[in-house]
C-alpha cells in the first residue's frame, strides 16, 4: 500500500525529522550516522501511518508523533566504544581546612609575638 501524505502532514513529519537531525548534529553524530538514524525513524513513522490510513491526515501524523520519543531524546552523546578520557582531579578546599589554616596561622603569629616579647624582657632584665 502506497502512503501519500497531504502537504501539511508531510510538512509536520519533515519538521519532526529535521528536529531529530539537528539534535543528533548537536550531540556530535557524524553525517552518515545522522542520516541512517533519521531514515530508520522515517521508515518507522511511515509504517505506523500506513497502518492507520492510506492517506494519513495531519491529525494522524500528530497522533503517531505523540507516541514517539521527542527529538530531545536523541540528545545523548554519540555512542562509542572509545574509553572516556579521565578528567584531572580537582581539589577545592573545604570550610574545615580553611578554618584549620587560619587557626594555625594565628597560633604561629601569637607564638612568634610571645617569643619576641620574651626576648625583649630577657634583654632588659639580664642585659
Amino acid at each position: 500500500m502506497t502512503v501519500s501524505l497531504s502537504a501539511d502532514a508531510q510538512s509536520r513529519l519533515d519538521a519532526h525529522l529535521d528536529a531529530v537531525e539537528q539534535t543528533l548534529h548537536r550531540s556530535g553524530n557524524a553525517r552518515d550516522q545522522r542520516r541512517a538514524i533519521v531514515d530508520d525513524l522515517e521508515t518507522h513513522i511511515r509504517d505506523l501511518l500506513a497502518a492507520r490510513a492510506a492517506e494519513p491526515s495531519l491529525a494522524d501524523v500528530e497522533a503517531v508523533l505523540a507516541q514517539m520519543d521527542p527529538p530531545a531524546a536523541y540528545g545523548a552523546p554519540a555512542p562509542t566504544n572509545a574509553p572516556k578520557p579521565i578528567a584531572p582531579a580537582t581539589t577545592t578546599p573545604s570550610a574545615t581546612s580553611i578554618a584549620l589554616y587560619l587557626f594555625l596561622a594565628c597560633a604561629s603569629f601569637a607564638a612568634l609575638f610571645a617569643l619576641v616579647l620574651g626576648a625583649i624582657w630577657a634583654i632588659r632584665r639580664f642585659g
Partner: protein
C-alpha cells in the same frame, strides 16, 4: 485494623522507594545490554529497524524505544558489525535491512560467552546458602 492499614501503607512506601532506587540501575543495565540484544535479534534473520524494535519490545523488562535503538544500529553499521541493504518500500523511503557480518557474529559469540559466565557467577552467589546467611 488501623495497624494493618498502617503496616500495609509502610510496605507500599518501602516498595515504592525501592522501585525508585532500582530504576536508574535497570536503565543502566538495559543500556549496557542493548548492543548484545540487537546482535541477538539479528542473529538468524535480516530485519529493518522498526522490526528490531518490535522484537525487543516484546521482551519482559527490556522495553526499548527508537531513540536508543536507532543510534545503536547506526553505530553497529559504522563498526561493520552489521551490513545494511536498502530495499524500496511502498510506505515511504527505502528500508534499511540489517544483518550480522562475520565480525558481528564473532562479537556476539564473545559477548554471549561473557554474559553466560557473569550470569552463572551471579546465580551461584545468589543461591549460595553460606553467602546468603552471612
Amino acid at each position: 485494623m488501623y495497624q494493618y492499614i498502617a503496616l500495609r501503607g509502610s510496605d507500599m512506601a518501602e516498595q515504592e522507594k525501592s522501585r525508585e532506587w532500582t530504576a536508574p540501575w535497570v536503565s543502566q543495565l538495559r543500556k549496557g545490554l542493548l548492543e548484545l540484544l540487537v546482535l541477538i535479534a539479528l542473529r538468524r534473520e535480516e530485519l529493518y529497524g522498526y522490526q528490531v524494535l518490535q522484537r525487543l519490545a516484546d521482551l519482559d523488562g527490556l522495553a526499548l524505544t527508537e531513540s536508543t535503538l536507532y543510534p545503536v544500529l547506526a553505530r553497529l553499521a559504522a563498526d561493520q558489525l552489521v551490513a545494511v541493504r536498502h530495499q524500496s518500500s511502498p510506505a515511504g523511503p527505502p528500508r534499511r535491512y540489517y544483518r550480522l557480518t562475520r565480525a558481528g557474529h564473532r562479537r556476539l559469540e564473545d559477548m554471549l560467552a561473557h554474559w553466560r559466565s557473569v550470569n552463572a557467577s551471579i546465580e551461584r552467589m545468589a543461591t549460595d546458602k553460606k553467602g546468603a546467611t552471612q
